[in-house]
């Protein structure tokens, strides 16, 4: 089941049934825009159950909350992936294990942070889907099926690169939906952490920390190409950057350098499509403590 479906169910049914009088909320708060309401609720602020229910009704269909739910789903995926990677015994001691431990710490913290933020805003965080990191048997990153340590390790690194580069693009794509809300800045602060992660994983894999053109890089499975499609863009703010008269000469290929210098966003649809490769089923989507 796709995350899109999960999010649809979440936003169109669960909340409505939970709080009966959405219309009433709009009447009460009629003079406030949705973004104004979001801005008034700081990230992680605990509110009473009643306030949560009221705000949840108000937030239904809110683009900022949808953006955070998508982010949370991606963080669930990353957090579980790194925990399982560390438990798998596949990672060699030293750099890889140290790096995965640090990233795991961050991704788990992001899950907690986003859940608290959503709850603070009165929304019910989506529950974690059930993940299948073999993508239906295509991979064996934890060596559960005996593909061998070496191949499993290569897949652990490849998947980490795909997840981190996806995360960077997905957060970037949601920034506009968070404008004018208290969620924008922390989302940006997560976004740049994903980029730090991506750079290090890529470097462990022998690549540069940045993305050239739409190249996924040596050793990346074809299934991950969607993570990189569109990164070849050279038009920024209506300007073809390759056509600028650079005051200092660019070393090497100008187009390659320009594509490296700008990371590109992806839409929620693309992000969910990528993540859906690793989702076998969603949870019941309900949160009993919301």
């Amino acid at each position: 089941m796709s995350i899109i479906k999960l999010l649809d169910e979440f936003s169109s049914e669960k909340l409505t049934t939970k709080s009966s009088s959405r219309r009433e909320m709009f009447n009460t708060l009629g003079s406030f825009g949705k973004k104004a309401a979001a801005a008034a609720v700081p990230f992680g602020l605990a509110t009473s159950g009643k306030a949560k229910a009221a705000t949840a009704a108000f937030f239904q269909g809110n683009s900022a909350v949808d953006a955070l739910q998508l982010a949370l789903t991606l963080e669930y995926l990353e957090a579980e992936f790194y925990i399982k990677a560390l438990e798998s015994g596949v990672l060699p001691a030293g750099r890889a294990e140290t790096v995965y431990m640090q990233i795991s710490k961050h991704e788990s913290a992001h899950v907690d942070f986003l859940r608290a933020g959503l709850e603070g805003a009165g929304a019910t965080p989506v529950e974690s889907p059930t993940f299948d990191f073999t993508a239906g048997g295509a991979f064996d990153p934890f060596n559960d099926n005996g593909i061998g340590q070496e191949t499993a390790y290569a897949q652990l690194l490849a998947l980490a690169q795909a997840f981190e580069d996806t995360g960077v693009r997905a957060y970037k794509g949601q920034a506009g939906n968070l404008m004018g809300t208290a969620f924008l800045e922390p989302a940006l602060q997560i976004h740049s952490v994903e980029a730090r992660h991506a750079s290090e994983i890529r470097r462990i894999r022998g690549l540069e920390g940045w993305i050239t053109g739409s190249m996924r890089g040596d050793g990346m499975p074809e299934a991950t190409q969607a993570v990189y499609d569109g990164e070849e863009n050279v038009m920024q703010g209506g300007v073809n950057v390759t056509g600028l008269n650079f005051a200092d000469p660019i070393v090497g290929d100008v187009t390659e350098a320009v594509t490296q210098a700008f990371d590109e966003p992806i839409t929620a649809e693309t992000a969910t499509a990528i993540a859906s490769l690793f989702i076998v089923s969603d949870s019941d989507g309900d949160d009993s403590d919301g």
Partner: protein, 264 residues
């Protein structure tokens, strides 16, 4: 889009205090000595500075050259102000990597690290010249920050430690600056543009940190990413100027930058 108002000021002798304040904080943060002379003003609240600081001269340096006819550029207001702010930082980064390459890299630099420095140089030159083109197109040349002069004489460009430590400080500062500026941007296109650049700065910072301390967690270390909530740094412009101001020779003001929209 909104036309920014450009406020032209004559810098006053009181800017001495901000200079020393910037220098002190930069040294504290990066461990590097700064020999540059910066007259950068920001926010213009004198009370932010410590008047009791023994390093602050009690009266203006009589030898300080004054040029009453010299007008000082203000970054401007609204999105143009933020774009000029980013442009200033990109100018600094580009100038730094240009100097790294001009000096034949640092002593003993392996080819892999020269290639990496070339990439960072490319990216920052591209960012810099892109901002110049974008701001000029949006607001006119008169509202575009002029080419700044920098004093990087405090950096030992022959020393790997010195170059990498400075690169790390600049890249981390860039990340924090963009993260802290996002909530001050009104136009979604500019916000996304800032997002496209900040993640590249973060990739740089990670790579530099990984060069400084390989096989460690420093690429996203607890010193820069809060280990409790997993959030990267986000700096206000005043914090950024505290860190970077020591390198900037050309005077400009940042008196009209927009405030965060959510007070975050």
């Amino acid at each position: 889009m909104k036309k920014p108002l450009v406020k032209v000021d004559v810098v006053e002798a009181s800017s001495k205090k901000s200079k020393n304040n910037s220098r002190r904080k930069f040294i504290k943060m990066s461990g590097l000595g700064i020999a540059g002379t910066s007259f950068l003003l920001y926010g213009c609240s004198e009370e932010e500075f410590d008047p009791g600081n023994p390093q602050s001269p009690s009266n203006p340096d009589p030898m300080e050259p004054t040029d009453p006819g010299d007008e000082v550029f203000d970054l401007g207001s609204g999105d143009v102000g933020i774009l000029n702010y980013a442009y200033a930082l990109e100018q600094l980064e580009a100038a730094f990597y240009t100097q790294v390459r001009a000096g034949g890299y640092y002593a003993g630099a392996p080819q892999e690290e020269k290639d990496l420095m070339d990439d960072l140089y490319n990216h920052e030159v591209i960012h810099r010249d892109f901002f110049k083109a974008a701001i000029t197109a949006a607001a006119g040349e008169e509202n575009t920050l002029p080419d700044l002069e920098f004093d990087v004489s405090s950096i030992d460009f022959d020393s790997r430690d010195s170059v990498l430590a400075t690169a790390m400080a600049l890249e981390d500062t860039g990340v924090g600056a963009y993260n802290g500026a996002g909530d001050r941007i009104a136009d979604a296109t500019y916000l996304t543009l800032a997002g496209k650049i900040v993640s590249v700065e973060a990739r740089h910072a990670s790579a530099i940190r990984s060069l400084i301390n390989p096989d460690s967690a420093d690429f996203a270390g607890d010193d820069i990413v809060n280990p409790e909530n997993g959030l990267d740094v986000a700096y206000d412009p005043s914090e950024v100027f505290d860190i970077a101001g020591g390198f900037i020779v050309t005077e400009f003001t940042a008196d009209n930058l927009p405030e965060p929209m959510t007070g975050a």
